[in-house]
Symmetry: C2
Amino acid sequence: MRHIISVIVENKFGVLARVSGLFSSRGYNIDSLTVGETNDPEVSRMTIVVKGDDSILDQVMKQLNKLVDVIEVVDLPREQSVRRELCLIKVNCNSGTRTEILEIANVFRAKTIHIGHTSLIIQITGTEEKINGFINLMEPFKILEVARTGVAAMQRESKEQ
Amino acid sequence: MRHIISVIVENKFGVLARVSGLFSSRGYNIDSLTVGETNDPEVSRMTIVVKGDDSILDQVMKQLNKLVDVIEVVDLPREQSVRRELCLIKVNCNSGTRTEILEIANVFRAKTIHIGHTSLIIQITGTEEKINGFINLMEPFKILEVARTGVAAMQRESKEQ
């Protein structure tokens, strides 16, 4: 099953390699991983999307909790959390296809952040499914580059409630 | 100096741990790392933001190029590339502060993606500087959680031009 794990860590040297190494040494492939500072510069938050056996994930989470630099590990329940991703897509275009591409982008509320003579860079945000759908629609125009951030997620209701 | 490195890799087991391990074993701290599939599901793209000595970075990039699963490594020039990040922020609110928070969010073209009784979740996208500015303005309202994706980046002009 697919899980979204939120890991709060001390913003220290090598933490990323230790956390990602723990997953791969247990045979867990990471589908996506995002990491960034929180409002406290000494604390970072990682969001990790993994697929695999639930009992092994349980072990991985226990081992994550034992790492010195790990402050908190939470398995985010799918129904109770929001998940968002950002994606930059560079698409080939010419005077004939530009309008068509921009119209599709508009429907997806995507933003054009660069227009060149023969290419466009479009920024789209949303769930993974929405981004997959947009990439799919761009395929016929010839995609030159795709850079996805991976998923950032959090629980809807505040922990303090 | 700060660098944004784009690494195209085969979407294989353990690549993330190997790449991030290479940076940390050379004493390089990763400021942000994003990874996601490209339009080819067998190929992933990582964007890594690092700070440190230029000559050491040169070595790290050479070593990255030697890894079997690494297809391409590019140091993206700051002036010629677009950089975007997504951030979810959960802020404490009450009937008195909600409007004020939503007004600030509006100025930043941020989207409110969840409204609870005592908290809001806001999604903001942009450069790191813009996101830092927004987080800063939210501080007085009491930030409950922050989840940043880290930076996705690509060169403005197409490689094929």
